[in-house]
């Protein structure tokens, strides 16, 4: 009985997220944070950050990854299945309807105008997701430097349309952090001082 209530809640929440997520994965982070962290308290902000990183390093849309993760945390395999189904269903039905009935969907002026408006909101939502993550970063030199560096690099990549994927950037950041960790450990081993 309790299990059924949780599953129903998951389905409903992710249907709502699926229906209102425009503009790809990063905007979704803001949406999932609002529902699953702040309102439902299903996961913590730190969980959210972990799963964002994992989602970005594994194949597939971030939205699907997040839904599967939250669903699994709440109600195991059935939960994962329910949440994933919930997030996919709205767009599935919408796209199916579009492919059946509207050949020139985006040529309808009112719809095109509404979507242009939504694009602007999506920019704000992504920025907001980024700021929320930034706030949670430890105020130490290395994390802040990595954050600033990747921000600058990604901005340049975006503005000049360079062909350099965010995955390479993430690999680089992980390598840097790992190297620092190894050096710290070696120094600690030599001097006998544990940080």
């Amino acid at each position: 009985m309790k299990q059924q209530r949780i599953l129903f809640d998951l389905l409903l929440t992710f249907l709502k997220i699926g229906l209102f997520t425009f503009g790809g994965g990063y905007a979704m982070i803001s949406m999932i944070g609002d529902s699953c962290v702040e309102k439902k308290k299903w996961i913590t902000q730190d969980d959210m950050m972990n799963i964002t990183v994992i989602a970005e390093s594994t194949p597939g849309p971030i939205a699907i990854n997040c839904a599967t993760f939250v669903g699994y945390q709440q109600a195991g395999f059935a939960g994962a299945l329910t949440a994933t189904l919930g997030i996919v269903l709205p767009s599935f039905l919408i796209i199916y309807a579009i492919s059946m009935f509207f050949d020139h969907f985006l040529e309808i002026t009112v719809i095109a105008n509404a979507f242009r408006g939504i694009r602007i909101a999506v920019g704000f939502l992504i920025l907001d997701a980024g700021l929320t993550m930034k706030k949670k970063m430890p105020r130490k030199l290395l994390p802040q430097a990595i954050l600033g560096g990747s921000f600058a690099a990604m901005l340049l990549i975006g503005i000049f349309s360079w062909n350099f994927s965010s995955i390479s950037l993430m690999l680089l950041a992980a390598a840097v952090r790992l190297a620092v960790c190894a050096i710290e450990e070696r120094n600690a081993g030599k001097g006998g001082v544990k940080p």
Binding site: G25, S91, S99, G117, M133, L142
Partner: protein
Amino acid sequence: MIYLELFFGFLRVGCFAFGGAYGAIPLIRDVVLSYGWLDDEALSCMIAVSESTPGPIMVNLATYVGSSQAGLPGAVIATTAVVLPSFLVILLVTAVLKTLLHHRYVQAVLGGLKPCMAGIILATGVTMILGNLTGPAERAVVDLPSVDLPSVILMALLGGILLAVKKIRKKKLSPITTIIVSAVLGMVVYGFG
């Protein structure tokens, strides 16, 4: 056998599409064109629709291509195939995550990835906002002389509303409300602009 082709074609997309939708588009193009499901023009049009409608772009494209090739069963098969790899990978990761997270080197890797992720997302937001200022045609290209006035007005209005709500209600406007407000603003501002 079109169903099998759809399944394996989109399974491939689901397996190798790292780094979000924009990284996946070249891969999807490759698969869709190599099977001859859509021509280049139809695909570009479809990408525009997928970007505008809710949901992950990859999933939207899979649904559309599947439906255009083999109706409802095709749509279901293509969508399932594109979602399946990430679903399974996350199940696997989540099952071992709790124990894995305590490992020192995993901690170190995550410690590098998290700030990097935050930086990437911030930059994506800024790039997108700058791109929106120049109108819908160019994405991510900042070209000051061609600033799109209605977009600037809309952005100022939306930004004002967001700030005002945050100040007055001491709470952020929820993302869903933000989307709805922006859609209405879009209809009004671009309608008269």
